[in-house]
């Protein structure tokens, strides 16, 4: 006898296997139609290669593997393809997916099969190709494409092939009966696998509760090097990791593969499928499925064509609908309940279980965890199920991960033993799904952000270059005019003037480069903070930016002396002083920015702490900091926009009016800026007021709500005033720069601005309404839970009704909000496009970007909103399920579906927007491809 090991924990549920082993396996009658999902495996769904209306024969390829990890699908009957459409598929979440539906012609006409007659001398590639083209996937559980798994040898050295014949789940006997009936097929299949994997030992692990199958296999394996290892019956010994530990004493490392420790594991059903594919050329079109549970009057194993609708099997098994408590696909420990009988049998369907109420009574009420530790004693993964449960319940997903949540194999042993009837696995699934979702989102957001910023930096760079060129051209064309008017001095100054133009250009370039560098720095820092694994990209960008800046600096350095030496000494002094002032102003601006940041941080902490007085104080600090910053910025701007002394040196005699206009323009710009700041501040004020309003609404304090509402109103009035002023300023462009195109643009801008303001108002109202309805929902929910706790039925009903109305309202509000936001996007996008077309002198791409950035932001908001809705719906569903109220469940499911749809839409939009951007962004295209493949 071979030495075996034990694994920690495990349970001994009643086996209930004898019910379905009384009769031999028989072929189920041909189904009238089959529904073949394009994805019955892990990996990418297959690509259909038939058209609707096409006639197909049994065994014909109808969908081709798409990508490395994917699997072929074959017609399991002969007939006509009647549809390729979404259809309900067997999945724990009850979702739908694309399926090929074939109506039988009753003939069962097969395609020509091409066996590999002499497989013993066939090459590894031939065998692998045959297995891959037969569409074979792991038939025990997840459905991992077998050919891919068998290929692991290319990368790992494998010494042990394990055939998983444990079949540890209660009730299921499909493997057991298959082994009894076709032991040679199992052994031959194992031999083929040995040829593929070339292990030093091949072990068939089988639980000792299947004496007939053991005997049959041992007989068939005589004379081969294949060893049948009998292991004690204990659930979940058939778990891949557990079986490997039992047979080899090795532990598959967390997050690793069996191949990492030199083992490949295949299920017996898969082995038989391999045998059929190689020696008979038969693709995977049928499998053995157990019909069992006392609600079936005929409990037996059948060979079933894939895609057979379950209702045909129910008929075959003489299903007693009234007696059944539920209908499961798979076993009682890991199977999932089916939500309809229109679902097909798929490659991984090993059992249909229809227990009666006596067998599987309705789940008992969940009691508090008493920390009895029974779950821990039972857990084969040696986790702390009760801790994981606490964390999942408290939404402390990070801690749950630290406690190795992802090593949980969802075997259900913990929930089986839990005396408090806590549906532990459900909690883990929830937590895992949440964590995956969050990860996914974080990654997506990070990617989008980097892309966005890169693009922004590039556009700014380009713009700056363009502007520099323009200026240079203008300077060049202005020179001939000044030259004749100038006195003798101008003759000597023409060369420096060139230098000056060059210098200006360089300066502008430098500014752009500095901005780019800053952005790149930021992106890098953020990437680092988010722990992004793809830091190379931002790093590179940062380095490039730095390089560029250095280049320009050095150029500037050489250009400067030549310019100042050429200019009059007095001028050089002035210029030096100015430079100094500029520097100081810059420093002051930077300092004030830092102060703002600090103040903001302090405010955030204060808000988190929730100390009212503190928050107010911090807000005041922030305001002062901002005011200071504004002042500093103004000063800086003034200094920068004041005509440079070097420029005055060359141009004093040329054009006085131009200088005047310049000054005017500067003043106007200043005013404009202040107005803009005021507008922004007022907007921020509105936001703050709104926030306060929402909190007040949530708290439900009437008086407070009123006060806050008033505050919002005043804030809005202020904002409107500010907007008016801004508009007025924008309407009266400085006299220096009037041009037809600009005038047009201004008019247009005014119009859109008005429109926008209106829209914004509507949007805000909608937002408030949405928030209010959310608060109402929350209140209703609270009331409902209270009612549920008090156990008053009529009260519960009332509350439920209230909740549904509230939800309806919320949805309406959300819809409206979404609509408005879309509208806003549209109007914003349009004027931007218009101005682009009309005014070539303005910066079209920048406006475009801004508009798009806004649209992106809004899309993000919508996405977030729908996501929260989705989350809520999921939660509500889970709650409904726990309460076991069928009506509520179906209702919640509908809501969930709606939310999912909306979420998908939002995501689509987001994808479009980001995709759009990506299309524009030629620089990051290559990078994008990289991240996509990750």
């Amino acid at each position: 006898m071979r030495k075996t090991w034990d694994f920690h924990g495990g349970i001994h549920p009643e086996e209930n296997k004898h019910q379905s082993t009384q009769f031999p396996i028989v072929d189920a009658p041909l189904p009238n139609k089959v529904i073949l999902p394009l994805q019955q495996h892990i990996g990418a769904p297959a690509e259909p290669v038939v058209l609707v209306g096409e006639k197909v024969k049994t065994g014909q390829l109808i969908a081709k593997a798409d990508g490395f990890i994917s699997a072929n699908i074959h017609a399991s009957i002969s007939g006509t393809v009647v549809a390729i459409e979404d259809h309900a598929i067997p999945h724990a979440s009850g979702m739908t997916d694309e399926c090929i539906i074939i109506e039988s012609d009753g003939q069962d006409e097969w395609v020509e099969l091409e066996p590999l007659a002499d497989w013993e001398s066939a090459s590894v590639d031939q065998l692998l190709n045959k297995i891959a083209s037969a569409g074979i996937v792991g038939m025990g559980g997840a459905g991992f494409p077998t050919a891919v798994k068998a290929r692991t040898r290319e990368r790992h050295s494998i010494d042990t092939l394990v055939i998983n014949a444990a079949e540890c789940e209660p009730y299921i006997t499909s493997d057991d009966m298959a082994m009894r009936t076709y032991p040679e097929q199992v052994i031959t299949g194992a031999k083929i696998l040995c040829q593929l994997v070339d292990p030093s030992s091949c072990l068939i692990g089988i639980e000792d509760n299947k004496p007939e199958a053991i005997k049959a296999l041992q007989d068939a394996a005589k004379g081969t090097h294949i060893e049948v290892v009998v292991i004690p019956t204990k659930y979940p010994s058939g778990g891949e990791k557990q079986l490997i530990q039992i047979l080899t004493g090795r532990e598959v490392p967390s997050g690793g593969l069996p191949a990492d420790i030199g083992v490949v594991c295949q299920n017996v059903g898969t082995t038989i499928a391999i045998y059929k594919a190689i020696t008979q050329g038969e693709p995977l079109i049928s499998r053995v499925t157990t019909l069992t549970g006392n609600a079936f009057n005929r409990r037996q194993n059948f060979t079933v064509r894939l895609g057979t609708p379950i209702n045909e099997l129910l008929e075959l098994g003489d299903f007693d609908q009234k007696a059944a408590s539920r209908l499961l696909m798979g076993g009682p420990m890991m199977g999932f309940s089916l939500q309809g009988d229109e679902l097909p049998v798929v490659k991984t369907t090993n059992c249909l279980l229809a227990p009666t109420h006596d067998e599987f009574p309705d789940p008992e009420l969940e009691n508090p965890c008493i920390r009895c530790g029974m779950c821990e004693q039972a857990c084969p993964a040696e986790l702390l199920p009760q801790q994981l449960h606490w964390f999942a319940k408290a939404q402390e997903f990070e801690k749950a991960q630290l406690f190795n949540l992802f090593d949980c194999i969802e075997c259900g042993a913990c929930a089986f033993v839990c005396p408090s009837h806590i549906p532990l696995v459900q909690y883990y699934r929830y937590a895992k799904a949440e964590i995956r979702r969050e990860d996914e989102e974080a990654k997506k957001a990070e990617r989008a952000k980097i892309r966005f910023e890169q693009r922004q930096a590039r556009l700014e760079r380009e713009e700056a270059e363009k502007a520099a060129k323009r200026k240079a051209r203008m300077a060049a064309s202005a020179k001939p005019k000044t030259a004749p008017a100038a006195t003798a001095a101008s003759a000597t100054s023409s060369a420096p003037a060139l230098d000056e133009a060059e210098q200006k250009k360089l300066k502008i370039q430098r500014a752009a480069a500095a901005v780019a560098l800053k952005k790149a720095d930021k992106a890098l820092a953020e990437g680092k903070e988010a722990n992004a694994d793809n830091l190379a990209e931002p790093e590179q960008a940062q380095q490039q930016a730095q390089q560029k800046l250095n280049d320009i600096d050095s150029k500037l350095g050489t250009a400067k002396p030549s310019a100042s030496s050429a200019a009059a000494p007095a001028n050089s002094q002035v210029s030096e002083e100015r430079e100094k002032a500029l520097k100081q102003a810059k420093i002051a601006a930077a300092a004030s920015k830092a102060a703002i940041k600090k103040a903001e941080k302090a405010l955030a902490t204060a808000q988190e702490a929730g100390d009212e007085a503190e928050i107010k104080a911090k807000e005041a600090d922030l305001a002062t900091a901002k005011a200071n910053a504004d002042k500093a910025a103004d000063k800086l701007k003034a200094l920068q926009s004041a005509p440079a002394p070097s420029a005055t040196a060359t141009a004093p005699t040329t054009d006085n009016s131009a200088a005047l206009a310049e000054q005017q323009k500067a003043e106007h710009e200043k005013a404009l800026k202040q107005a803009k700041i005021a507008a922004a501040a007022s907007k921020a004020a509105i936001k703050k007021a709104e926030k306060a309003l929402v909190t007040a609404q949530e708290a439900g304090d009437e008086a407070d709500i009123k006060a806050k509402e008033e505050a919002v109103a005043t804030a809005k009035a202020n904002a409107e005033k500010a907007a008016d002023k801004l508009k007025a300023l924008q309407d009266t462009p400085p006299s220096a720069a009037p041009s037809a195109a600009a005038g047009n643009a201004a008019a247009l801008a005014q119009q859109t601005e008005q429109q926008k303001a209106e829209q914004e108002k509507a949007l805000k109202q909608a937002k408030i309404a949405a928030a209010a309805s959310k608060a109402a929902i929350k209140k209703a929910e609270k009331a409902l839970t209270a009612a549920q706790e008090s156990g008053d039925a009529s009260e519960i009903q009332n509350c439920e009704q209230a909740l549904t109305t509230a939800k309806g309202k919320a949805e309406a509000a959300a819809n409206k909000l979404a609509d408005l936001q879309q509208q806003a996007n549209a109007t914003e996008a349009k004027p931007a496009a218009d101005t682009n077309a009309k005014t070539s002198s303005s910066a079209p791409s920048e406006e475009d970007t801004a508009a798009k950035g806004k649209a992106l932001k809004q899309a993000k908001i919508i996405l977030a909103a729908t996501r929260t809705a989705l989350k809520k719906a999921e939660k509500a569903l889970a709650e409904a399920e726990q309460s076991g109220d069928a009506d509520a469940i179906s209702e919640q499911q509908q809501t969930l579906a709606r939310c999912q749809k909306k979420f998908a839409d939002a995501e689509q939009k987001m994808a479009e927007l980001t995709g759009d951007e990506q299309g524009n962004n030629t620089v990051s295209k290559g990078n994008e491809a990289d991240t996509a493949s990750v």
Binding site: P253, R326, Q339, G340, P363, I370, A381, N404, P423
Partner: protein
């Protein structure tokens, strides 16, 4: 049948919380019987009174917390707490002592912490400790064993009288200090001198306590066999207590009590199998349970030998309850496929 969505697993072991609690309550019966046999009706009256008070308190608190009291009452957890309290209190304790104890156990130590599963300290022991500190006289008067009263225990009516009217004469006539208490206050006497002082009484008293202890041990072994709890806590606790007492007894038998005295008198056995094993307040992993149990054993010895209180199960258990979360953090099992176990609270990635 409706096509409902139910999460796996669909099978469940037929053992629920209320059954677990019921097993534990049943397992106290041999000990209770032994106590009653030896010390008369007192303990039984205690248990019944405490249970009645406790259930009423539980129902009242739950109603005050606006919860349905029925499921909580059905889970037998309050009953178990009160049974354990009743067993720990000295027989013939006045009824108000029991009432106060039940109140503290159920209302303060259990429900105010959030009810079943959320209480960090063993409720029965919280109540016991509080009573011991507040009413040291009542709490240290233990009834004499039957054999010292010529085979007659205190009659039922006398017992009831003592309990409800606090008839001091009844109580005084039948009570004495426990052997541990006596040993503690033996003064300058050598150990064997103390035992010889009143050899007859010592033997009787000692025998009575040992008998009751065996009763609790039997019940505990039954629970072990039923896999209601694992062996780790009782074995670690009794082991460390034995080891320590053997060491000191071996080095100086005239001043220290023998391991047998420590194991089979006082609340050692009750504590080892029924109190320390309370899952809610104990450490969870197997390794953690070993530390937890060993800690209790050590503390019991230390407090009994050098502390101010004759018996120390309650304080030791409470102290280790305090340490349980900490122990849990440092004794996490190594999960399957991991090189080593995670330790501590830090977020080491």
């Amino acid at each position: 049948m409706a096509f409902i969505r139910v999460s796996s697993p669909h099978l469940h072991r037929p053992l629920s919380t209320h059954q677990v609690m019921r097993y534990v309550i049943l397992a106290t019966l041999p000990g209770l019987a032994a106590l009653t046999w030896i010390f008369g009706w007192g303990s039984l009256i205690n248990v019944i009174l405490a249970s009645a008070f406790g259930l009423v308190f539980e129902a009242l608190v739950l109603m005050a917390r606006k919860r349905n009291p029925v499921p909580a009452l059905k889970d037998n957890s309050a009953l178990l707490t009160c049974v354990l309290l009743g067993l720990a209190l000295p027989p013939l304790a006045p009824f108000w002592l029991v009432l106060t104890g039940s109140f503290v156990a159920i209302v303060i130590a259990k429900q105010l912490y959030g009810g079943l599963g959320n209480n960090p300290f063993n409720p029965a022991m919280v109540a016991y400790a509080l009573l011991l500190i507040s009413f040291p006289v009542e709490m240290t008067q233990w009834v004499m064993p039957a054999e010292m009263l010529n085979g007659n225990t205190v009659s039922l009516s006398a017992s009831l009288q003592a309990v409800f009217t606090g008839h001091q004469q009844v109580a005084d006539a039948f009570t004495m200090a426990t052997p541990l208490d006596g040993f503690k206050h033996k003064g300058e006497l050598m150990a064997d001198e103390y035992w010889r002082l009143d050899a007859f009484a010592a033997e009787k008293v000692w025998g009575g306590w040992a008998f009751a202890s065996v009763g609790f041990m039997v019940g505990g072994l039954f629970l072990l066999w039923k896999k209601i709890f694992t062996w780790h806590i009782p074995v670690a606790m009794l082991g460390s207590l034995t080891l320590l007492s053997a060491m000191f007894y071996g080095s100086d038998p005239s001043n220290y009590a023998s391991p047998m005295v420590h194991l089979f008198s006082g609340a050692t056995m009750l504590g080892a199998f029924f109190i320390a094993t309370d899952p809610v307040t104990a450490a969870t992993s197997n390794k953690g349970k070993l530390w937890f149990g060993a800690g209790i054993g050590v503390l019991i010895y230390v407090i009994r030998t050098w502390g101010n209180y004759p018996d120390a199960v309650a304080f030791s258990v409470l102290l280790m309850n305090f340490a349980a979360p900490f122990i849990d953090y440092y004794t996490q099992p190594r999960s399957f496929g991991h090189k080593k176990a995670r330790k501590g609270i830090k977020h080491d990635a």
